[in-house]
Assembly symmetry: C2
């Protein structure tokens, strides 16, 4: 092998990729830089290799847009449809954000960056001891498991029912559906309940604008969020079509603004929604992460008429990789969504389900939450301190009383796209408000993931990037 | 509590269900018999309770179709759409089967029935020791885990890549997507690749007819399956629309017929599909469960042009509750489906993924398979013996060389709906061929789940039920 030149080895690797059908016609091959990094060679070596494969007719370069596979008459892609990513990933209403969101999703997996973006607990809050102990217990009690019932493991549903009881929500286990995270619950609702042509009322800004949740046939109406959460007055100036309007709401530590509705506002909203027959999807995934005092009761706790579908998750509080969340509501609706669910993936992992059950039943979840709250409070306070120190001239923010995020509003209009790129060039990932359909110059900064040192370096980077714009 | 009469307690329970919004307007309450069983009372007590709640205006009876909730002006269901289950669960093309499939799905969870239906390994084949050992190792090595990358855990993808290598499929880990079972992979393909208005070619009979996989906009064309699998000649008499036709195929131990295509037939099919640019979804979930000799190579092993998307799973070989399967194919298609997937549930359970990785890497999976094959062979042979002894006058069948099922063909036309019901009355669950869109009098009998004693009792029940029809 030693005597074969590197460019020759790389050319062979490219040919194999095409030959095995892994790189199909019409697809773009990795950039010269990426290949050079992978093989640990100079770009010139990669250029030689690519020229060699080009001369065989397998590749073709398009100026300014990379090298494409062009051989191979019967490729799969040509038989179905070309992978037009721009058409496919209709991320949001604002074209500018599409690319940014995709980019952020990929950047969040990189360990070498300062993550103000990541909506996850930092590694220091991972409940290693608790999970190890629970895994041990689960393993000892392990019984054979196959396809479960449609709603999910009964023991877990019973524990979630008890957990909800503590926050005033009375829901029997048979009205709870275990899902693979909150996004999965929301997706089931959009595909399983909403009709084509439905009108969806959404907060603005909202993290839901940054994900591809609603089919194009649904009309999205944005309702602004202010200090006290959703602007109820503006919501009820809208027209509702009976049986085809629905409200998606994240009333507690809203993502991205971190605002919460007061109890009073919740009552008014629920009353009005009942009057107008507007059903509510209550997304309450940050509730357990209050930092100063427990938040007001969920809408679901006030709901006597089955007006609210309630969605929760353990992704933010334990670990996203468990893929365990829930959906609770009227038995008939839950049953219906369970059927939809069984037609797509036959349920959530049994192991994840019994692990979470054990964490809840043993009280380890509650103890873990107490530790997490302490640590998150420290991290929030540190980020607030850094913001005051370095950015108080140019921006304002509120102190979030729970969740992961500080919502930074710049006093003057800034070029947020440019700020995003400049920070990234310095290895800092920030989420500009426009990906949540915010029209102002805003930033969502997560204090959950980065270390104190990273926070300081990150804020200084934002500051120096801004200095170009002021 | 003792002095409160039972009917009063039941009435209170009903009121609570309605009050909490668990039973919403328009929904049917459980039958009198079900409620009586739940409370351990006579039906007359339930009737009294229901009359009481009816008199309060909360319930109303419709003759012949049960008791419905009628109160409660602002229920969720009235605001969205009434739970019309018949409209919602469009299980198959044959109206008769809808109800039967739903019924079978529910019956499969009951432990008191003889299960000729269940497509799962019996509890005696559950790899208890192997999973316990692997769980121990996984727990020791556990690192913090969050949202994973879009394709799934790299270690697992690497092990699957090695596993596929052994059956002649060369696929790099970056061309493998981890999914939550084979159905999930098929669902991703139908939603992520197929256009509305696509034509889908399916085997007939096929288990895919019994699940609600394809949106109504897609045209389904059925191609018959015979001794040597798919009727290739008939397939290529069809018209194909370029870029919007696709073939779904289960060429090895096909469900429900258990037939396998020969290597020769596979080559011919692949050549022709390449010529006509017809892409293939190869569903190969039973491959590892060969009983007599390893089956012919998968189409994917013969595919040099990225014509085939290859789907596999550990649901049939280890345990369905893991929810781990894979999809392998051209890198661009896999990437695309990974994006679709990340927009619905953010990946599969990390715990399930690392557990399966450990089972594969340690060689425990392969050892487990050897034990499973021995046991399945015994069970197949026993069911064949019982069939020969009791049903050879009225039916024929072939010896399956792998998988779970014996496909029984009756010599004369039988009323299969009636047979299904009569067997069920005797606590035996069978799958009549019509749920797979088979027009003949056929049965799919699983030998994987029932014990020897249950098999004997079950076959005798089928025999005696048939005697009414002969």
């Amino acid at each position: 092998m030693k005597k074969i030149p590197r460019y020759f080895q790389i050319a062979r690797w490219i040919r194999e990729k095409i030959d095995k059908g892994e790189w199909v016609i019409g697809s773009k091959i990795p950039t010269q830089r990426e290949i050079a990094e992978q093989f640990g060679v100079n770009r010139s070596t990669v250029v030689t290799a690519i020229e060699m494969v080009k001369s065989e007719g397998l590749l073709e370069g398009k100026t300014g847009s990379g090298i494409y596979v062009v051989n191979n008459q019967w490729s799969l892609i040509s038989a179905i449809s070309p992978p037009d990513w721009n058409d496919f990933t209709k991320w949001s209403l604002q074209p500018a954000s599409e690319h940014t969101v995709q980019m952020i999703n990929e950047l969040e997996n990189r360990k070498d960056l300062i993550q103000f973006s990541k909506g996850e607990l930092g590694p220091e809050m991972f409940p290693h001891a608790e999970i190890t102990e629970a895994m041990g217990k689960v393993t000892l009690q392990l019984q054979e498991f196959g396809y479960g019932d449609g709603l999910g493991e009964l023991g877990l549903r019973t524990e979630i029912s008890r957990h909800l009881q503590r926050i005033g929500v009375n829901i029997a286990p048979e009205s709870i559906l275990i899902v693979s995270g909150a996004l999965h619950a929301l997706k089931l609702i959009t595909t399983g309940i909403l009709k084509r042509g439905s009108t969806v009322f959404l907060e603005s800004p909202s993290y839901l604008h940054s994900i591809n949740l609603f089919p194009a046939e649904m009309a999205i109406r944005e309702i602004p969020v202010a200090e006290e959460g959703l602007n109820i007055k503006e919501l009820f100036q809208q027209k509702f079509t009976k049986n085809s309007s629905i409200l998606f709401l994240n009333p507690t530590f809203q993502n991205p603004t971190s605002t919460s509705m007061t109890l009073e506002q919740r009552k008014i909203l629920l009353d009005k929604c009942q009057y107008y027959q507007l059903p509510i999807i209550e997304d309450d995934i940050f509730r357990d992460l209050w930092l100063d005092a427990p938040p007001p009761a969920p809408l679901k706790a006030l709901d006597k008429n089955g007006q609210v579908l309630y969605v929760g998750s353990f992704s933010k509080t334990i670990a996203a990789g468990l893929r365990i969340g829930w959906l609770a509501g009227p038995e008939a609706v839950v049953k219906r969504l369970s059927d939809v669910r069984m037609q797509t993936d036959y349920g959530s992992s049994y192991l994840s389900q019994v692990l979470v059950k054990e964490l809840l039943a043993s009280g380890m979840y509650e103890k873990h939450l107490q530790k997490v709250r302490c640590r998150l409070r420290e991290k929030r306070d540190e980020l607030l301190r850094l913001l005051s120190l370095h950015l108080s001239d140019v921006a304002t923010w509120s102190t979030p009383s729970g969740g992961f995020f500080i919502w930074v509003v710049f006093k003057k209009k800034m070029n947020m796209q440019k700020l995003f790129k400049q920070c990234l060039a310095e290895n800092v990932v920030i989420n500009p408000g426009f990906i949540y359909n915010d029209r102002h110059s805003t930033l969502r900064l997560s204090f959950a993931y980065a270390t104190f040192e990273e926070m300081e370096a990150g804020i200084l980077t934002i500051k120096s990037s801004l200095s170009n714009q002021i």
